[in-house]
Amino acid sequence: MEKEDYKSNYNTHVIRLVVILVVVGVGGYFAKAAFTPDTMGQYGHYRGSNVEEQKGREMRNMTNDSCFQCHKYIRRIHKNGVHKDVSCEVCHGAYADHVKDGKYIGKLPVKRGAEIKALCLRCHNKVIQARPRDSIKVVALPQHLEEKKVRTDHICDQCHMVHDPLLWVKQAREMMGMKEEK
């Protein structure tokens, strides 16, 4: 009977604890629902709608054939030359800066002089050691110019048509009746 006396009817602390837990639980549930994106977990632990967003990103580079749709004259030269695998956009700039929705929007910078030389030497510079042998024609400057008996300040495109490097060389040989150099 004595134990009964010690038992308290005071239980506010328990009610408080339960109320707090319920509030945190319910609040947390709604907060999570509010802050989680709709498509989260649709295919996995990520926002499912991001796949479509990634897919719909605008393409900035196109292919050589896109350029040739308008540049028909260059197409004839470029496609028949040894540079047919060289991309237009690497030298000229991205398609998206030039054409949008089939309309002309801006001029791509024209490369001249030293810039052309730098572009040529990206691939054709012999002094860069790591080039695989027999892949492409490589030359060392100024030895190449000395060999051909021209001034050493010549720029590549004074002899080589950049879209088909051997075009003018072949034409000149035909005109002069020269034979292939050994």
């Binding site: 994106p37 989260m40 295919y43 996995g44 632990h45 990520y46 926002r47 499912g48 991001n50 796949v51 479509e52 967003e53 990634q54 897919k55 719909g56 990103r57 605008e58 393409m59 900035r60 580079n61 196109m62 292919t63 054939d65 896109s66 749709q69 308008c70 695998d85 060289v86 991309s87 956009e89 690497v90 700039g93 991205a94 054409v99 929705d101 089939g102 309309k103 730098a118 030497l121 990206r122 691939c123 510079n125 002094v127 860069i128 050691q129 790591a130 080039r131 695989p132 892949s135 492409i136």
Partner: protein, 266 residues
Amino acid sequence: MQDIQEIKNEIAQDRRAFIKKVMGGAVAGSLLMVIPATATEIAEQIPGMRAEKTVFTKKRFAFIVDVTRCIGCGSCCVADRNEYDVPDGVYRTWVERYIIDDQDNVFVDSPNGGTDGYTEPRTDIPNPVRDTFFVPKLCNMCEKPSCVQVCPVGATYKTEDGFVLIDPKRCVGCGYCVQACPYSVRYFNKNHTADKCTWCYHRVRQGMLPACVNVCPVQARKFGDILDKSSEVYKILHEPHVISVLKPGMGNKPSLHYVGLRREVV
């Protein structure tokens, strides 16, 4: 009198015909200006891709880099910077130059990631050179990506078709993935969210090859469907070759394969 009247009638008719022609021409001309000149669509480079309407593609892609072909021109890096807005000093793809001397010392450099090409030879190598080659690097698209595992917010994820992508809206920029990637392909973009090479997911899903593959002048980069037995990628992976992946010991199982890779790189 009657003759003159007939002639006048004829002229009147002719004028009507003339005006009709002019009007027709004007309408046609203005239509040409409205209809885009590139109305003909560019042929798709990945056969059957545009016809797919599912969220994920049924194809399984692999990327192969042929080290024995790469000439280190940096066209891939240029195309990549054309395609994406990449801050200076970080690279989605880059080209490394390896030089190995006869004492087996390895010298590696990559000025500006190879974006400007290689303009100068290495002059600081004391011994005769035994082997030199270029190694292009990009995202390995691991089967078990460490970056996805560490992301605390589910911003970086692997799709069912095998691409590892980053949701820029979810990314909080904590940088765990940048540290976790064993191949160091991740960086922070201008919005301070993690970014990396996606094998040009948007291009691939629109039927085009990745920008770097498209521009490579010596076909050192190859991209294709390994489920398609007629594809070049399938043939390379099923023929005897020196073929390997980077850091196989990490257990990430990359989908990026290298042909002719030297042991010094792995």
